[in-house]
Amino acid sequence: MEKFTKLTGVAAPMPLINIDTDMIIPKLFLKTIKRSGLGKNLFDEMRYDAEGNEIPDFVLNKPAYRNAQILIAGDNFGCGSSREHAPWALLDFGIRVVIATSFADIFFNNCFKNGILPIVLPQEDVDKLMDDASRGANAVVTVDLENQVITGPDGGEISFEVDAFKKHCLLNGLDDIGLTLQKADKIAAFEKEHGAKMPWV
């Protein structure tokens, strides 16, 4: 996994609530057996018309936001399915940070496994960033994970919370499986005890 430390980039506004995983990456594109290459189909049904032409009004099709690395969105971002294709598509497009008032649980977890930082902020902070983001390519925002601070285009700072373990993994680009396998002895001991207690499992 790629490390995430600090990022300065354009923020794109998506002032919609309940942006679900079917919107982020429609099922048509779940048929891949790879993790890469999904960026071109990110938000496919909102981004292209039935003939496959770009819909000019859609935010990521506007010249100012074509290289956005940060998304600002409404409540309950990423609700719906567990498909990790959603963060894969975001990542492949170049999005490394999603900021919203709330996220769906599985999506939130999936982001961290892929070097994407999802940030939960109160409504007023999201409103402020949404406003900043609507200023187009001038809306450059800096997200500093180490210090847990977002700096807006006007220099204003917003601090954010992040789970300590997830932060540690993201800052160092750590792979969970490697970390867990360091506990192999503990797992083996648990497995033995559990199996004795519940032989039917």
Binding site: P15, L16, I17, N18, D20, D22, M23, P26, K27, L28, L30, K31, T32, I33, K34, R35, E45, A50, G74, D75, N76, C79, G80, S81, S82, R83, E84, P87, S102, F103, A104, D105, I106, N109, N110, K113, N114, D163, A164, F165, K166, H168, D176, I177, T180, L181, K183, K186, I187, F190, E191, H194, K197, M198, P199, W200, V201
Partner: protein, 466 residues
Amino acid sequence: MTAKTLYDKIWDDHLISTDEDGSSLIYIDRHLVHEVTSPQAFEGLRNAGRKVHAPDKTIAVPDHNVPTTLDRLNGVENEESRIQLEALDKNARDFGVHYYPVDDVRQGVVHIVGPEQGWTLPGMTVVCGDSHTATHGAFGALAHGIGTSEVEHVLATQTLIQAKSKNMKVEVTGTLPEGVTAKDITMHIIGLTGTAGGTGYVIEYCGDAIRSLSMEGRMTVCNMAIEGGARAGLIAPDETTFEYVKGRPHAPKGADWDKAMAYWKTLYSDDDAHFDKVLTIKAEDIAPSVTWGTSPEDVLPITATVPAPEDFEGGKVDAVARSLEYMGLKPGMKLTDIEIDTVFIGSCTNGRIEDLRAVAEVVKGKKIKEGMRAMVVPGSGLVRAQAEEEGIAQILQDAGFEWRLAGCSMCLAMNPDQLQPGERCAATSNRNFEGRQGRGGRTHLVSPAMAAAAALTGHLADVRDL
């Protein structure tokens, strides 16, 4: 000893370790795998030279991509689907996990197959790379959906890194009115809590109305816990549960059964256990329900009218305007005036035998509306076989339904079963998102009985009026 909820008990019995920062490692008893969210995980194992840690606790079944027409054994036409199905086949065989291939009568939607085969048992931890893993909570198992990275993690270690969720209790008191089903309960709850109401929680469903449900009904309720945002849904096991489990191929037998029963009977929330959030609902207040919008929280009783954006607040105002436009509906219109051209019966929400019986009861001796495309997709090959044996398949076919093979089918339309733009479907599945059943398709979520009513009348209809 402090009082514990059912969730606390299962959690504690699977906790391997907790780090200072609060992240825990929990042991996983059952890992269900399907073709869409697993190829990248198996590829990861291969690249790292790792094995599946516990192949005997890992169960693979193809469901999302499989065609449901009788000719499917001749091959899958869509190349990408075929590659994905072949990848699962290869991975299941190479890594030696339990496997129900397409031509096995036990194949079906993973969340139907698990319980049916007795893989899902009370008090277990169950995961699958699929959000509707919540279904298995009906057995009093802690079951949740995970992403593909976590699938790989579980394959490699049989554990999952988790933070503990909060406890929420949803109590449904009283007796369900005539015509109201488990599906209406679960949709009604989401209508009240919203799709984010359960975020951060594990929900335990309890109360007389829940207790009186069959296992099939309980699975329907827990299945949609995820639509309410919860990490998992749970129902404490009782005689109904034990009765269902007993004799299943992978259920414990003999002395193990007795030992298991002794343990399972300890699986309930203690009287004074603490819940962080409590919601109490009267069963009498629940009506046959339908969704009118593009979020599962857009639920109303069938007797209501389509709402207007101004009826809502905040971000929901724009969201409703957008969904009414997408759905092609006008505020104030009666829900029963909404014309339907497609009916889909199936999915892990409502693809079990009881659901097919409910449809048969409504359509027996009748014909579906002319021009209606109506499809029944049993949740598994065994459900299909049982329905044929009970004569239900014949009733459904006589009424004009297509009788399909098992799979996810039009629940998410990854296989050829899809809506065309503008088509409108009454579906027994669980998601009415934009494009869920096909680009531009419009979905109204309903119970099986209500789907049957729509099939007969050609519009959304109150099954109590038939």
